[in-house]
Symmetry: C2
Subunit: 127 residues, 2 copies
């Protein structure tokens, strides 16, 4: 069965979605991600959708769902690499991806996650 790989990258998990996220696959991804989050103790998840030309309401809901699960497991989710056409379609569909943060690319997404971790975790106290 095809599966979406979840890569551990330093302090974050990276999910690159390249195939259409159908029912089964979205559920499998949720399962995998929760297990990886529990095992690795990471505080940030990057979901890259730069390969997706189409994001319909099902995929949008799945992504929001995954972000919600991650949040409960004390991890922030940032969606990166959204194509302009996809952003237009999502808004036309009435989906605002509430609760999901977005960034233009991986570098900016990682920066966002680091800032979030810095603000939430033990605040760095420069002596």
């Amino acid at each position: 069965m095809e599966k979406i790989p979840i890569l551990k990258m330093g302090d974050f998990l990276l999910v690159t979605i390249q195939v259409e996220l159908h029912d089964q696959l979205a559920l499998a991804l949720q399962d995998d991600l929760t297990q990886k989050l529990a095992r690795s103790g990471t505080r940030g998840v990057l979901i890259d959708i730069s390969a997706l030309e189409i994001v319909d309401s099902f995929i949008g809901r799945s992504l929001a769902h995954i972000a919600g699960i991650a949040r409960i497991m004390d991890a922030a989710t940032v969606l990166v690499g959204m194509r302009p056409a996809v952003a237009i379609t999502l808004v036309e569909l009435g989906m605002t991806l509430k609760g999901v943060r977005t960034a233009l690319n991986i570098d900016k997404g990682m920066q966002l996650l680091r800032e979030a971790a810095g603000a939430a975790g033990a605040a760095p106290s420069p002596s």
Copy 2:
């Protein structure tokens, strides 16, 4: 047409291969990668194949080919996430992936690339 995304991640490019790498796709990946290398000036490429359950001789050759092209364009390539079964099959096929460095996971691959860049580039001279 499906396409394998190439993500810029800090100083490196990350290619996650999730679908079977057929003829057209391998060529498209070569094209894309050379253009990204030329444009971004990165010195390291990580190719993640953790999603691949099968790596046949065609894919093996394609990966070696891509690493060769990257080398000419002054970038090191590290193959990460190979499954144990894939490693066994490759050796049984007589493919040793000559000229392609490998690492167990992304973190170790990035470390390898950093070391390679440090050794090849302007040597850090601690005062």
